[in-house]
Amino acid sequence: MCTTCGCASGETRIEGEELASAHTHEHIHADGTRHSHPHDHLHAHGHGSDHEHHHPDHGAMPAHGHPHAEGGWHDHADTTHTRPGAATLHYGAGPARAHAPGLSQARMVQIEQDILAKNAAYAAANRSRLAAAAVLALNLVSSPGSGKTTLLVRTLEALKAELPLAVIEGDQETAFDAERIRATGVPALQINTGKGCHLDAHMVGHALDKLPLPEGGVLFIENVGNLVCPAAFDLGEAAKVAILSVTEGADKPLKYPDMFHAAQLMLINKVDLLPYVQFDVEAAIAYARRVNPELEVLTLSASTGEGFAAWLAWLRQRLADVKATRIRQLEAELAKLKGA
């Protein structure tokens, strides 16, 4: 899925490089060769004569050189190559193979699929990849300015001698956050979403290709600061951790319920500022549990380190669970192999 929240795609960048389009596009040549490329790929084919060229992916695009919705341009330099069926040719390419030219009767086709099905499929792939490496992946979500990055830096400093760690940073622009993380010595990868308001599972999948996986350790995914959209996009994480700081309103869990509903843990950050602000911790917790009765809550300060012991203990426990699950799986596989 392209999740660029503006119309244009090609906005997403991982460490400054453009992210290839989600959809690849495949050609099968008559000799059986198959090649595929992303939609934003710019190319011109020069074909020998009598070269047959199927476009299974193109549906009813009638013209030969055609712009793709993504802005790519696909040009076939040779006009002699044949496509089965000329102008109405793609009609017969459907499973029925019976669409008569000229008879353009509309028909209904059932789809019955979730709109976010593609994202869900990418998320499932990420999840199994992370599980296979016994990585605890956490999706950190909050408003901008809640102190996510400061919290992350302090957490990494506390754990880096003990566990393999890695960070994926999501922001609309700049690599400032990834640079702050790398200064701790932990590998970090910056995803810039351009106009996009959230990370999606496809972007994270690409990031996993580029980042050394912290096997048996923790991967922190710092989402774009936004309490709305990231709630709906599963990245393949083990849990969403929502951060609410005491400089925000205690009623935020009710104003942005989807996020607090999707989270498993809420961290109330900046508690060192409680004497100076009007923030009712008990009310914030009650509101959050109204939308999510199972929500776990910890209070801490990323600048003083208050409450950090409990947060680190939570992380270690979750990681132990992830490892235990992986060990059980591997043991089951081993037992199966030995028995076979």
């Binding site: 899925m1 392209c2 999740t3 660029t4 929240c5 503006g6 119309c7 989600a22 959809h23 299974p56 992916d57 193109h58 549906g59 009813a60 712009p67 919705a69 109405t88 793609h90 009609y91 017969g92 390419a93 459907g94 499973p95 029925a96 669409h99 353009s104 009767q105 509309a106 028909r107 209904m108 086709v109 059932q110 789809i111 019955e112 699929q113 979730d114 709109i115 976010l116 099905a117 593609k118 994202n119 996009g196 308001c197 959230h198 999606d200 709305v228 959209c229 709630a231 709906a232 996009f233 009710l254 319920p257 989807d258 509903h261 109204r290 939308v291 009765p293």
Partner: protein, 113 residues
């Protein structure tokens, strides 16, 4: 929220299906959107028109079927209507209501020619 990303998701499903079926054009797209799905239907219509331009679904009519919200209230032990996600039970006022319908976001079917 994120209606543009949803519209892109709809277009992908629609185009995949339309191409597979060898369609020349998509006439109508039928969606099923739950009342509790946090989707702004008007924003989705606007985004759909924007993302389908220059696609097989350009100019297609967008039909949105709304699914009313419902949930299971734990204290009442029965199914109750829900008007908002995370809202209170209309009978007892409790917030322990598990949504059972109305969170759908699905592409139901398309009319192609």
């Amino acid at each position: 929220m994120h209606e543009m990303a949803l519209a892109e998701g709809v277009l992908q499903l629609v185009e995949d299906t339309a191409r597979r079926e060898g369609a020349r054009r998509v006439q109508t797209v039928v969606l099923e959107i739950g009342a509790l799905a946090s989707v702004e239907v008007e924003a989705l219509r606007f985004c759909f028109a924007a993302v389908t331009r220059d696609s097989l679904a350009a100019g297609a009519a967008l039909e949105i079927q709304t699914v009313p919200g419902a949930g299971w209230c734990l204290p009442c032990g029965k199914r109750v209507p829900m008007r908002e996600l995370h809202g209170a039970c209309p009978n007892c006022g409790s917030y322990q209501v598990q949504p059972t319908a109305g969170t759908e976001m699905r592409v139901k079917e398309i009319a192609i020619e």
